[in-house]
Amino acid sequence: MKAAPFEYVRPRSVDEACDILAGDENARLIAGGQTLVPMMAMRLARPTRLIDINRIAELSFIRDEGDHVAIGAMTRQRSAERDPLLAARLPLLARAIPWIGHAATRARGTIGGSIANADPAAELPLLAITLDAELSYRAGHASQTIAARDFFAGAMTTALPQDGCLTGVRFPVWRGRIGTGFAEVNARRSDFAFAAAAAQVELDPEGLCKRIAIGIGAVAEAPFRLAAAESKLVGMTLDQARVMDAVRAALADIEPMSDPHASPRYRRRVAAELAARAIAEARADALEKPHAH
């Protein structure tokens, strides 16, 4: 349980970090390290150089951009969990972040680190997919953006280039009478999810679904949206039977992952149930809010 030797560098800027990364294919960036350090302890990861981006000030922020909230990649999950702007503008994140690991891992773990790590069971990639987040990264001194739906290529695999450093995530802010829901099943609260669902809805003054986003995590190698269910539910009352039919149909063609804890059949079945719960929670949440104006 001891990491192999490595050289440690602590660059002051993102460009400097990217230069080092570009010049050494065995180098790895370290953000919160809550996945990388245990991987190194078990020698499943053996970077020969560790580029610590924890002290790069330009990577830690939560910024109101009107139609979006932008979060710096090095922002600690703990800071995001306690941020009033985030709670007001991105209530789905506020609801889901307490599900990430434990308080002690959220104290170090970062928003960008979890997204770049792309664990299939991680909450932040699921939230990025559900809310159509836009990710920004730096590579070769150039800033690039990529949609979350184009970013997650599979388990622990992303579209980030070898010399790329994720710099931030922009989440769209929904206006109007919105509500959010999140549900997850795991062996113990805060352990890795066997399945997770996130939902955000906007209701019209009559309580009908005006807009809905439903995301599923930990079921396939990357989080995904139930797009077919979303289009069926818009304009409808979100009653239990209709929601269940829609999410079941949308999950019919998915090939879920298999592991000793959860079979593909179980994952498909529980994902439908969790999606229905998340939508019911989101609907109830929205109904408590005053009508849109």
Binding site: A3, F6, Y8, M42, N54, A103, A104, A107, R189
Partner: protein, 169 residues
Amino acid sequence: MHWRSRMRIELIVNGTTHALDIEPRTTLLDCLRDNLGLKGAHAGCEHGVCGACTVLLDGVPVRSCLMFAVQAEGNQITTIEGITPGQGELSPVQDAFCETHGMQCGYCTPAMILTAHALLNANPNPTREDIVEAISGNICRCTGYAQIVEAIALAAERLSGANRAKDAS
């Protein structure tokens, strides 16, 4: 490949600055135990699952096995050795753990107590749920959770009582 095998760093532990010459791969946990002799930080799973190695980094509980010592330069690190008010004395939280017997084998205890200190600093009147949530990342394999929760509730009650008495005087 050229190895810069060791690094000189300064760590601030329990208010004292220590100059160290260590390998970058040394975790904060191993550094505290082996270089500084602070054996109260316990090495349990060494991959971030058990919570026995919890220390406070700038007052916030973190797993010391999940960061390298070189990363902690400039941070205020608090271990169980640093929370007693004086030699031979116990903190109110430690007292409460003794009185309610909030331990059996003691392996998880330093981490539980540090986590409780951080909780009570941030939230002087925690509910039972707040307490359970705060220690949810710390595994007690004797499963003595009931007394641990009781200890933290007792400490909270005493500390808030002490504050009230001070305010009244």
